[in-house]
Protein backbone atom coordinates (compact mmCIF):
# COMPACT_ATOMS: atom_id res chain seq x y z
CA UNK A 1 0.00 0.00 0.00
CA UNK A 2 2.79 2.34 1.00
CA UNK A 3 4.60 1.55 -2.25
CA UNK A 4 1.40 2.10 -4.28
CA UNK A 5 0.91 5.57 -2.86
CA UNK A 6 4.59 6.52 -3.23
CA UNK A 7 4.64 5.34 -6.84
CA UNK A 8 1.41 7.18 -7.60
CA UNK A 9 2.64 10.46 -6.13
CA UNK A 10 6.01 10.16 -7.86
CA UNK A 11 4.24 9.53 -11.16
CA UNK A 12 2.04 12.59 -10.59
CA UNK A 13 5.09 14.67 -9.69
CA UNK A 14 6.82 13.46 -12.86
CA UNK A 15 3.83 14.49 -14.98
CA UNK A 16 3.83 17.90 -13.26
CA UNK A 17 7.60 18.23 -13.12
CA UNK A 18 7.57 21.99 -13.70
CA UNK A 19 6.11 22.38 -10.18
CA UNK A 20 8.97 20.39 -8.70
CA UNK A 21 11.65 22.17 -10.71
CA UNK A 22 10.36 25.59 -9.63
CA UNK A 23 10.93 24.65 -6.01
CA UNK A 24 14.45 23.41 -6.68
CA UNK A 25 15.36 26.51 -8.72
CA UNK A 26 14.02 28.66 -5.91
CA UNK A 27 16.41 26.92 -3.51
CA UNK A 28 19.38 27.33 -5.86
CA UNK A 29 18.68 31.01 -6.52
CA UNK A 30 18.06 32.00 -2.89
CA UNK A 31 21.27 30.31 -1.74
CA UNK A 32 23.26 31.84 -4.62
CA UNK A 33 22.01 35.36 -3.91
CA UNK A 34 23.80 35.56 -0.57
CA UNK A 35 27.42 35.35 -1.79
CA UNK A 36 26.53 37.99 -4.38
CA UNK A 37 24.87 40.24 -1.82
CA UNK A 38 27.35 39.82 1.04
CA UNK A 39 30.45 40.12 -1.14
CA UNK A 40 33.57 37.96 -1.41
CA UNK A 41 34.51 38.10 2.27
CA UNK A 42 35.39 34.40 2.80
CA UNK A 43 35.24 34.50 6.59
CA UNK A 44 31.76 36.01 6.66
CA UNK A 45 30.53 33.62 3.99
CA UNK A 46 31.77 30.55 5.85
CA UNK A 47 30.04 31.86 8.96
CA UNK A 48 26.63 32.41 7.40
CA UNK A 49 26.66 29.40 5.01
CA UNK A 50 24.87 26.79 7.20
CA UNK A 51 22.16 29.21 8.26
CA UNK A 52 21.56 30.44 4.71
CA UNK A 53 21.33 26.97 3.21
CA UNK A 54 18.98 25.79 5.96
CA UNK A 55 16.68 28.81 5.79
CA UNK A 56 16.50 28.45 2.01
CA UNK A 57 15.66 24.75 2.45
CA UNK A 58 12.86 25.63 4.90
CA UNK A 59 11.36 28.14 2.49
CA UNK A 60 11.69 25.82 -0.52
CA UNK A 61 9.96 22.97 1.31
CA UNK A 62 7.21 25.44 2.39
CA UNK A 63 6.56 26.28 -1.25
CA UNK A 64 5.68 22.72 -2.18
CA UNK A 65 3.63 21.97 0.92
CA UNK A 66 0.25 23.28 -0.14
CA UNK A 67 0.36 20.90 -3.10
CA UNK A 68 0.63 17.93 -0.77
CA UNK A 69 -3.12 17.41 -0.28
CA UNK A 70 -4.80 20.26 -2.19
CA UNK A 71 -5.07 18.55 -5.59
CA UNK A 72 -6.37 15.32 -4.07
CA UNK A 73 -8.84 17.33 -2.01
CA UNK A 74 -10.20 19.18 -5.03
CA UNK A 75 -10.75 16.20 -7.32
CA UNK A 76 -12.21 13.91 -4.66
CA UNK A 77 -9.27 11.50 -4.41
CA UNK A 78 -8.82 12.40 -0.78
CA UNK A 79 -12.37 11.20 -0.03
CA UNK A 80 -11.43 7.87 -1.59
CA UNK A 81 -8.28 7.73 0.54
CA UNK A 82 -10.30 8.35 3.70
CA UNK A 83 -12.66 5.54 2.69
CA UNK A 84 -9.92 3.10 1.73
CA UNK A 85 -9.75 -0.02 3.89
CA UNK A 86 -6.14 0.75 4.81
CA UNK A 87 -5.10 2.91 7.78
CA UNK A 88 -5.15 6.53 6.66
CA UNK A 89 -1.87 7.20 8.51
CA UNK A 90 -0.14 4.71 6.20
CA UNK A 91 -1.48 6.46 3.10
CA UNK A 92 -0.39 9.79 4.57
CA UNK A 93 3.07 8.39 5.28
CA UNK A 94 3.32 7.32 1.64
CA UNK A 95 2.43 10.82 0.49
CA UNK A 96 4.99 12.34 2.87
CA UNK A 97 7.74 10.00 1.64
CA UNK A 98 6.94 10.88 -1.97
CA UNK A 99 6.95 14.58 -1.08
CA UNK A 100 10.37 14.21 0.52
CA UNK A 101 11.75 12.28 -2.45
CA UNK A 102 10.85 15.08 -4.87
CA UNK A 103 11.31 18.17 -2.70
CA UNK A 104 13.61 17.24 0.20
CA UNK A 105 16.17 14.77 -1.11
CA UNK A 106 17.15 16.94 -4.12
CA UNK A 107 17.85 19.84 -1.73
CA UNK A 108 20.23 17.67 0.31
CA UNK A 109 21.94 16.47 -2.88
CA UNK A 110 22.39 19.99 -4.25
CA UNK A 111 23.48 21.60 -0.98
CA UNK A 112 27.19 20.51 -1.14
CA UNK A 113 27.52 22.06 -4.62
CA UNK A 114 25.87 25.27 -3.50
CA UNK A 115 27.96 25.24 -0.31
CA UNK A 116 31.12 25.62 -2.39
CA UNK A 117 30.07 29.19 -3.15
CA UNK A 118 30.56 29.86 0.56
CA UNK A 119 34.09 28.45 0.64
CA UNK A 120 33.12 25.61 2.99
CA UNK A 121 35.80 22.90 3.43
CA UNK A 122 34.89 19.42 2.04
CA UNK A 123 34.20 17.94 5.48
CA UNK A 124 31.78 20.75 6.29
CA UNK A 125 30.01 20.10 2.96
CA UNK A 126 29.63 16.43 3.88
CA UNK A 127 28.18 17.37 7.25
CA UNK A 128 25.81 19.84 5.58
CA UNK A 129 24.65 17.02 3.32
CA UNK A 130 24.06 14.61 6.21
CA UNK A 131 22.31 17.25 8.29
CA UNK A 132 19.94 18.00 5.40
CA UNK A 133 19.44 14.29 4.76
CA UNK A 134 18.26 13.91 8.36
CA UNK A 135 16.48 17.25 8.51
CA UNK A 136 14.46 17.52 5.28
CA UNK A 137 12.20 14.52 6.15
CA UNK A 138 11.36 16.37 9.39
CA UNK A 139 10.28 19.35 7.30
CA UNK A 140 8.00 17.16 5.14
CA UNK A 141 6.55 15.41 8.20
CA UNK A 142 5.78 18.58 10.16
CA UNK A 143 4.65 20.33 6.99
CA UNK A 144 2.09 17.59 6.31
CA UNK A 145 0.35 18.39 9.61
CA UNK A 146 0.14 22.05 8.64
CA UNK A 147 -1.03 21.25 5.11
CA UNK A 148 -3.81 19.03 6.49
CA UNK A 149 -4.90 21.63 9.05
CA UNK A 150 -5.17 24.42 6.47
CA UNK A 151 -6.81 22.26 3.81
CA UNK A 152 -9.64 23.99 1.99
CA UNK A 153 -9.17 27.30 3.81
CA UNK A 154 -9.06 30.57 1.90
CA UNK A 155 -5.59 32.10 2.15
CA UNK A 156 -4.42 28.75 3.44
CA UNK A 157 -0.95 29.29 1.97
CA UNK A 158 -0.05 32.20 4.25
CA UNK A 159 -1.64 30.56 7.26
CA UNK A 160 0.33 27.42 6.49
CA UNK A 161 3.65 29.27 6.68
CA UNK A 162 2.66 30.98 9.93
CA UNK A 163 1.72 27.62 11.38
CA UNK A 164 4.62 25.55 10.15
CA UNK A 165 7.68 27.82 10.14
CA UNK A 166 7.83 28.12 13.98
CA UNK A 167 7.68 24.33 14.20
CA UNK A 168 10.66 24.10 11.86
CA UNK A 169 12.87 26.01 14.33
CA UNK A 170 14.31 22.96 16.18
CA UNK A 171 15.32 21.34 12.89
CA UNK A 172 16.88 24.63 11.78
CA UNK A 173 18.86 25.07 15.01
CA UNK A 174 20.29 21.54 15.12
CA UNK A 175 20.76 21.28 11.36
CA UNK A 176 22.63 24.53 10.95
CA UNK A 177 24.30 23.99 14.33
CA UNK A 178 25.91 20.74 13.16
CA UNK A 179 27.85 22.50 10.39
CA UNK A 180 28.61 25.55 12.53
CA UNK A 181 30.04 23.43 15.32
CA UNK A 182 32.30 21.62 12.87
CA UNK A 183 33.59 24.94 11.53
CA UNK A 184 34.15 26.06 15.12
CA UNK A 185 36.18 22.90 15.72
CA UNK A 186 33.66 20.96 17.82
CA UNK A 187 32.27 17.54 16.92
CA UNK A 188 28.90 17.83 15.11
CA UNK A 189 27.80 14.47 16.53
CA UNK A 190 25.58 15.94 19.25
CA UNK A 191 23.61 18.07 16.81
CA UNK A 192 23.22 15.24 14.31
CA UNK A 193 22.02 12.85 17.05
CA UNK A 194 19.43 15.36 18.18
CA UNK A 195 18.33 15.80 14.56
CA UNK A 196 18.00 12.03 14.27
CA UNK A 197 15.96 11.88 17.47
CA UNK A 198 13.71 14.62 16.13
CA UNK A 199 13.25 12.66 12.89
CA UNK A 200 12.21 9.53 14.79
CA UNK A 201 9.81 11.51 16.98
CA UNK A 202 8.10 13.30 14.07
CA UNK A 203 8.17 10.13 11.95
CA UNK A 204 6.22 8.26 14.59
CA UNK A 205 3.67 10.95 15.37
CA UNK A 206 3.18 13.20 12.32
CA UNK A 207 1.38 10.66 10.05
CA UNK A 208 -1.23 9.98 12.74
CA UNK A 209 -1.74 13.64 13.59
CA UNK A 210 -2.04 14.45 9.88
CA UNK A 211 -4.59 11.65 9.42
CA UNK A 212 -6.73 13.04 12.24
CA UNK A 213 -6.45 16.58 10.81
CA UNK A 214 -7.51 15.31 7.36
CA UNK A 215 -10.59 13.58 8.78
CA UNK A 216 -11.56 16.83 10.50
CA UNK A 217 -10.92 18.86 7.34
CA UNK A 218 -13.15 16.57 5.27
CA UNK A 219 -16.20 16.67 7.56
Amino acid sequence: MLITIIRRDLLLAYRRRSDVLTTLFFFVIVVSLFPLGVGPEMKTLRLIAPGVVWVAALLASMLSLNRLFAADYQDGTLEQMLLAPQPLALIVLGKIVAHWLVSGLPLALMAPVLGMQFDLPPEALAILFFALLLGTPILSLIGAIGAALTLGLRGGGVLLSLLVLPLYIPALIFGAGAVESYIAGVSPEGHLSLLGALLILTGLTAPWVTAVALRIAME
Binding site: M1, T4, I5, R8, L11, L12, R15, R16, Q74, D75, G76, T77, E79, Q80, M81, L82, L83, A84, P85, Q86, P87, I91, M218, E219
Partner: protein
Protein backbone atom coordinates in the same frame (compact mmCIF):
# COMPACT_ATOMS: atom_id res chain seq x y z
CA UNK B 1 -36.61 23.66 7.44
CA UNK B 2 -36.22 20.47 9.39
CA UNK B 3 -38.56 17.88 8.01
CA UNK B 4 -39.06 14.36 9.02
CA UNK B 5 -38.40 12.32 5.98
CA UNK B 6 -40.35 9.14 5.66
CA UNK B 7 -39.21 6.18 3.70
CA UNK B 8 -42.10 5.00 1.61
CA UNK B 9 -41.37 1.68 0.03
CA UNK B 10 -43.63 1.36 -2.96
CA UNK B 11 -43.85 -2.38 -3.30
CA UNK B 12 -41.69 -3.89 -0.57
CA UNK B 13 -43.75 -4.69 2.52
CA UNK B 14 -43.29 -2.35 5.45
CA UNK B 15 -43.08 -5.09 8.02
CA UNK B 16 -39.42 -5.69 8.85
CA UNK B 17 -40.05 -9.40 9.29
CA UNK B 18 -40.90 -9.81 5.59
CA UNK B 19 -37.87 -7.87 4.46
CA UNK B 20 -34.51 -9.38 3.64
CA UNK B 21 -31.83 -9.30 6.36
CA UNK B 22 -31.10 -5.79 7.40
CA UNK B 23 -27.50 -4.95 6.62
CA UNK B 24 -27.39 -1.19 6.88
CA UNK B 25 -29.45 0.55 9.51
CA UNK B 26 -29.72 4.28 10.10
CA UNK B 27 -31.56 5.41 13.22
CA UNK B 28 -32.78 8.92 14.05
CA UNK B 29 -30.16 10.73 11.99
CA UNK B 30 -29.86 14.48 12.26
CA UNK B 31 -27.61 16.41 9.95
CA UNK B 32 -26.52 20.01 10.23
CA UNK B 33 -24.50 22.01 7.74
CA UNK B 34 -23.34 25.20 9.40
CA UNK B 35 -26.40 26.78 11.04
CA UNK B 36 -28.87 24.94 8.88
CA UNK B 37 -30.52 21.71 9.92
CA UNK B 38 -30.95 19.61 6.80
CA UNK B 39 -32.96 16.77 8.27
CA UNK B 40 -33.85 15.38 11.67
CA UNK B 41 -34.90 11.99 12.94
CA UNK B 42 -34.31 10.18 9.68
CA UNK B 43 -34.47 6.42 10.01
CA UNK B 44 -34.32 3.65 7.45
CA UNK B 45 -32.91 0.20 6.90
CA UNK B 46 -31.46 -1.46 3.86
CA UNK B 47 -31.26 -5.18 3.27
CA UNK B 48 -29.39 -7.36 0.81
CA UNK B 49 -30.61 -6.85 -2.75
CA UNK B 50 -32.28 -3.51 -2.06
CA UNK B 51 -31.91 -0.22 -3.84
CA UNK B 52 -32.53 3.01 -1.96
CA UNK B 53 -33.01 6.15 -3.96
CA UNK B 54 -32.53 9.43 -2.11
CA UNK B 55 -34.56 12.19 -3.73
CA UNK B 56 -35.07 15.86 -3.04
CA UNK B 57 -34.35 19.29 -4.45
CA UNK B 58 -30.86 20.82 -4.61
CA UNK B 59 -29.54 21.64 -1.16
CA UNK B 60 -31.90 19.28 0.63
CA UNK B 61 -29.02 17.24 2.06
CA UNK B 62 -28.76 14.28 -0.30
CA UNK B 63 -24.97 14.43 -0.55
CA UNK B 64 -24.71 15.13 3.18
CA UNK B 65 -26.76 12.01 3.89
CA UNK B 66 -24.49 9.90 1.69
CA UNK B 67 -21.42 11.30 3.45
CA UNK B 68 -22.95 10.40 6.82
CA UNK B 69 -23.55 6.86 5.60
CA UNK B 70 -19.94 6.52 4.40
CA UNK B 71 -18.60 7.86 7.67
CA UNK B 72 -16.95 10.87 6.04
CA UNK B 73 -18.75 13.11 8.49
CA UNK B 74 -20.39 12.20 11.79
CA UNK B 75 -24.13 12.82 12.34
CA UNK B 76 -25.15 15.45 14.91
CA UNK B 77 -27.47 12.85 16.39
CA UNK B 78 -28.39 9.29 15.56
CA UNK B 79 -26.49 6.17 14.67
CA UNK B 80 -25.57 4.13 11.63
CA UNK B 81 -25.01 0.41 11.88
CA UNK B 82 -23.54 -2.02 9.40
CA UNK B 83 -24.24 -5.70 10.13
CA UNK B 84 -25.13 -4.78 13.69
CA UNK B 85 -21.90 -2.91 14.46
CA UNK B 86 -21.31 0.83 14.19
CA UNK B 87 -20.57 1.64 10.56
CA UNK B 88 -17.00 2.86 10.78
CA UNK B 89 -13.49 1.52 10.72
CA UNK B 90 -11.50 -0.43 8.19
CA UNK B 91 -13.81 -3.42 8.25
CA UNK B 92 -16.81 -1.34 7.19
CA UNK B 93 -14.79 0.52 4.55
CA UNK B 94 -13.78 -2.80 3.00
CA UNK B 95 -17.49 -3.39 2.26
CA UNK B 96 -18.09 0.06 0.87
CA UNK B 97 -17.79 1.56 -2.57
CA UNK B 98 -18.41 5.29 -2.65
CA UNK B 99 -18.57 7.44 -5.74
CA UNK B 100 -18.80 11.12 -4.92
CA UNK B 101 -19.76 13.78 -7.39
CA UNK B 102 -16.15 14.79 -7.64
CA UNK B 103 -15.05 11.75 -9.54
CA UNK B 104 -11.48 11.36 -8.23
CA UNK B 105 -10.02 11.11 -11.72
CA UNK B 106 -6.50 12.54 -11.96
CA UNK B 107 -6.10 14.76 -15.02
CA UNK B 108 -2.41 13.92 -15.41
CA UNK B 109 -2.90 10.15 -15.38
CA UNK B 110 -4.27 7.99 -18.16
CA UNK B 111 -7.62 6.22 -17.87
CA UNK B 112 -5.83 2.93 -17.21
CA UNK B 113 -3.55 4.40 -14.53
CA UNK B 114 -6.54 6.05 -12.88
CA UNK B 115 -8.44 2.77 -12.72
CA UNK B 116 -5.42 0.85 -11.44
CA UNK B 117 -4.68 3.35 -8.70
CA UNK B 118 -8.26 3.67 -7.48
CA UNK B 119 -8.76 -0.10 -7.34
CA UNK B 120 -5.38 -0.57 -5.59
CA UNK B 121 -6.45 2.03 -3.06
CA UNK B 122 -9.72 0.20 -2.49
CA UNK B 123 -7.77 -3.00 -1.83
CA UNK B 124 -9.07 -4.75 -4.97
CA UNK B 125 -6.10 -4.64 -7.36
CA UNK B 126 -6.78 -5.57 -10.99
CA UNK B 127 -4.60 -7.18 -13.62
CA UNK B 128 -3.98 -5.18 -16.78
CA UNK B 129 -6.41 -7.39 -18.73
CA UNK B 130 -9.21 -6.90 -16.19
CA UNK B 131 -8.67 -3.15 -16.17
CA UNK B 132 -8.55 -2.87 -19.97
CA UNK B 133 -11.64 -5.03 -20.22
CA UNK B 134 -13.56 -2.79 -17.76
CA UNK B 135 -12.53 0.33 -19.69
CA UNK B 136 -13.54 -1.27 -22.97
CA UNK B 137 -16.96 -2.18 -21.61
CA UNK B 138 -17.25 1.44 -20.43
CA UNK B 139 -16.78 2.50 -24.05
CA UNK B 140 -13.25 3.81 -23.61
CA UNK B 141 -11.53 1.40 -25.98
CA UNK B 142 -8.65 3.17 -27.72
CA UNK B 143 -8.49 5.87 -25.05
CA UNK B 144 -7.00 3.80 -22.24
CA UNK B 145 -3.60 5.47 -22.46
CA UNK B 146 -4.70 9.06 -23.03
CA UNK B 147 -4.26 11.45 -20.11
CA UNK B 148 -7.65 12.13 -18.53
CA UNK B 149 -7.36 15.86 -19.19
CA UNK B 150 -7.98 15.36 -22.92
CA UNK B 151 -11.15 13.35 -22.24
CA UNK B 152 -14.58 14.93 -22.23
CA UNK B 153 -16.60 15.37 -19.02
CA UNK B 154 -18.68 12.31 -19.82
CA UNK B 155 -15.63 10.22 -20.63
CA UNK B 156 -13.98 11.17 -17.32
CA UNK B 157 -17.17 10.10 -15.61
CA UNK B 158 -16.91 6.78 -17.47
CA UNK B 159 -13.36 6.33 -16.18
CA UNK B 160 -14.64 6.79 -12.63
CA UNK B 161 -17.61 4.48 -13.27
CA UNK B 162 -15.39 1.73 -14.67
CA UNK B 163 -14.80 0.91 -11.00
CA UNK B 164 -18.47 -0.06 -10.72
CA UNK B 165 -17.88 -2.84 -13.21
CA UNK B 166 -15.15 -4.41 -11.10
CA UNK B 167 -16.06 -3.50 -7.51
CA UNK B 168 -16.67 -6.46 -5.22
CA UNK B 169 -17.91 -4.36 -2.28
CA UNK B 170 -21.49 -5.23 -1.22
CA UNK B 171 -22.58 -1.67 -0.36
CA UNK B 172 -22.48 0.93 -3.09
CA UNK B 173 -23.11 4.56 -2.26
CA UNK B 174 -23.37 6.58 -5.45
CA UNK B 175 -23.79 10.33 -5.64
CA UNK B 176 -25.33 11.34 -8.96
CA UNK B 177 -23.73 8.52 -10.95
CA UNK B 178 -25.66 9.31 -14.14
CA UNK B 179 -24.63 12.96 -14.59
CA UNK B 180 -22.97 13.75 -17.92
CA UNK B 181 -23.59 10.25 -19.29
CA UNK B 182 -25.21 9.44 -22.62
CA UNK B 183 -28.10 6.99 -23.02
CA UNK B 184 -25.87 4.01 -23.73
CA UNK B 185 -23.78 4.53 -20.61
CA UNK B 186 -26.90 5.08 -18.48
CA UNK B 187 -28.25 1.72 -19.68
CA UNK B 188 -24.96 0.04 -18.93
CA UNK B 189 -24.88 1.45 -15.38
CA UNK B 190 -28.49 0.49 -14.76
CA UNK B 191 -27.94 -3.09 -15.87
CA UNK B 192 -24.80 -3.26 -13.73
CA UNK B 193 -26.85 -2.05 -10.74
CA UNK B 194 -29.43 -4.77 -11.46
CA UNK B 195 -26.68 -7.40 -11.59
CA UNK B 196 -25.20 -6.13 -8.30
CA UNK B 197 -28.60 -6.21 -6.57
CA UNK B 198 -29.29 -9.70 -7.90
CA UNK B 199 -26.07 -10.81 -6.18
CA UNK B 200 -27.39 -9.55 -2.83
CA UNK B 201 -25.64 -6.22 -3.16
CA UNK B 202 -27.03 -2.95 -1.84
CA UNK B 203 -27.16 0.43 -3.49
CA UNK B 204 -27.87 3.88 -2.09
CA UNK B 205 -28.10 6.36 -4.91
CA UNK B 206 -29.03 9.97 -5.51
CA UNK B 207 -30.10 11.01 -8.96
CA UNK B 208 -32.24 13.63 -10.60
CA UNK B 209 -32.77 11.40 -13.60
CA UNK B 210 -35.31 8.61 -13.64
CA UNK B 211 -33.67 5.37 -12.62
CA UNK B 212 -34.90 2.18 -14.27
CA UNK B 213 -33.18 -0.81 -12.83
CA UNK B 214 -34.63 -3.90 -14.49
CA UNK B 215 -36.48 -6.12 -12.06
CA UNK B 216 -36.04 -3.88 -9.03
CA UNK B 217 -38.41 -1.39 -7.46
CA UNK B 218 -36.35 1.22 -5.68
CA UNK B 219 -37.28 2.33 -2.20
CA UNK B 220 -37.31 6.08 -1.84
CA UNK B 221 -36.39 8.64 0.76
CA UNK B 222 -37.63 12.12 0.00
CA UNK B 223 -35.73 14.93 1.65
CA UNK B 224 -37.42 18.30 1.67
Amino acid sequence: MAQEAVSSPASTPNDPADRPNTMLEAAHLTCQRGERTLFTNLSFTLGAGELLQVAGPNGSGKTSLLKLLCGLSPPVAGEIHWQGAPARGEDFRRHLFYLGHQHAVKEELSALENLHISTDLAGEPLTDEEALDALERMGLAGREHLPAKVLSQGQKRRVALARLLVSKAPLWILDEPLTALDVGAVDLIQSRLAEHLAHQGMVVVTTHQALHVPGVTPRRIDLE
